[in-house]
């Protein structure tokens, strides 16, 4: 069965290793924090200027001066620090953040990503996404494999305006885990109960299937 948003987040959480500094985008990526193993040490960075983010505050404890990049009220954990936006992007551009998890509208065979603009629709802006995808060495995209009309979002070429070129390495969708390799999308894992054929049908880009494809362990 295809994964729901929490399922995608749960699978991605397994990619978060001990000692990682992680930047989570808005949407599914934010959910990843809920599933990170408890026995490892991880710090979450938010590009508006905080390292060491904790959970939402208890009711009544919210502080207007303490938000994340999604403008939500947050808390901090022991060892947290605050900094300005230039320093925040020094962390990102300087590749001090170990893992970036973000959503996408489209991903292409060569690792291009489009996630900020739909021509003809209202454009809200790229926020920090262009800096994140251009800089991060380790990017995981969290997305649905197809759009609402059932069309593949895993493409030969992106049709939407790009956010970054050749930057995506790994994709976790509701159907599969894919790795971006030289010649296309290498199928690494299937969602529980999902068959390879279903993934193939939902993938417009070149899908590389080598040997038996294991089911995800969640």
């Amino acid at each position: 069965m295809a994964l729901d948003k929490n399922g995608i987040a749960k699978r991605i959480a397994k990619e978060v290793k001990d000692g990682y500094f992680v930047n989570l985008g808005i949407g599914i990526p934010t959910l990843v924090a809920n599933f990170v193993q408890e026995d490892i040490s991880v710090e979450f960075q938010s590009e508006n200027g905080v390292l060491g983010m904790g959970p939402f505050p208890f009711e009544g404890d919210e502080d207007a001066d303490l938000i994340n990049a999604g403008k939500q009220t947050i808390t901090t954990l022991k060892g947290a620090s605050f900094f300005d936006s230039a320093t925040s992007f020094s962390m990102i551009r300087g590749q001090h953040v170990d893992l970036t998890i973000l959503g996408a509208m489209e991903v292409s065979e060569n690792g291009d990503i489009a996630n900020w603009k739909i021509p003809g629709k209202l454009v809200k802006g790229m926020g920090g996404a262009m800096d994140l995808v251009a800089s991060a060495e380790n990017i995981i995209v969290a997305m649905m494999h197809t759009n609402k009309r059932g069309e593949s979002k895993i493409l030969k070429r992106c049709s939407l305006p790009l956010t970054g070129v050749g930057c995506v390495k790994k994709i976790v969708t509701n159907l599969a885990v894919l790795e971006v390799v030289e010649s296309g999308f290498k199928l690494l894992e299937r969602a529980p109960g999902v068959q390879v054929e279903e993934i193939q049908n939902a993938t417009e880009g070149n899908l590389i299937i080598e040997g038996d494809i294991p089911e995800m362990k969640l």
Partner: protein, 233 residues
């Protein structure tokens, strides 16, 4: 000590004229110079170009200036949490220049630091690169980005002293320290203004040399944009 204290936003904004370019600190509604924005509404200056990460909401932040059609151009990384903004953008009344957030921060910092241009990978291969020089360093492609120029930078801090030294609180720091000193004149609005000597020189985030005018804001609403909480056990 060079005293930068002025009576309030009215005195601080002297010299602000139609068609000028402003940097305005804040991220969302967090860390914005509320009193200066209100004063600009009352001044009625128009044709402004605002460099600010976001554009406020309909009835708060830069949204107040948008509502009165005082802004001609917005330079931001993320906008549109604001119906009037949307209307003006779609009708073409408002020009919007979208800039990657890290590039925006660094272009402010470059202006402060006298760096006319720098290279960043953000936006290479996208429409952000249109009309910009690109260049390879060690096998990776970068865009050349130039420092912003602004007539005024308006920042908001938690505490300040009469010498113009600033201390920020939490994530209300954001773009404020990057913009301080990045405009020809920098105005600092603070929640608490103390005499020089009361702030620990080791704790100062923005040294007073970057600030020309400072005042204590009369009133701070500090509105929360997305209230997210969890229940106590």
């Amino acid at each position: 000590m060079i005293n930068k204290k002025v009576s309030g936003p009215k005195e601080a904004l002297q010299g602000l004229k139609d068609d000028m370019t402003l940097m305005v600190g804040g991220f969302g509604l967090c860390g914005i110079p509320e009193n200066a924005i209100q004063e600009m509404v009352e001044m009625g200056v128009t044709g402004l170009t605002c460099i600010s990460n976001n554009a406020g909401v309909d009835d708060f932040g830069l949204g107040l200036l948008l509502d009165k059609k005082q802004i001609k151009t917005m330079i931001s990384s993320y906008v549109g949490e604001n119906a009037e903004f949307e209307r003006q953008m779609l009708s073409g009344e408002l020009e919007v220049i979208l800039t990657p957030q890290g590039t925006l921060a660094e272009k402010c910092r470059a202006a402060q630091a006298g760096i006319p241009a720098f290279y960043t990978p953000a936006g290479y291969g996208t429409e952000v690169a249109d009309g910009k020089e690109s260049r390879e360093f060690e096998g990776k492609m970068y865009l050349m980005e130039e420092a912003y120029k602004a007539d005024f930078a308006i920042v908001k801090a938690w505490k300040g002293d009469e010498a113009g030294n600033l201390i920020f609180k939490g994530t209300a720091r954001n773009f404020n320290p990057c913009m301080a000193g990045a405009g020809k004149i920098t105005i600092a609005e603070v929640e608490e203004l103390v005499p020089a000597g009361e702030l620990d020189p080791n704790h100062i985030h923005t040294p007073g040399i970057f600030v020309q005018r400072i005042y204590q804001g009369a009133k701070f609403e500090k509105r929360i944009e997305q209230l997210t909480t969890r229940k106590r056990d």
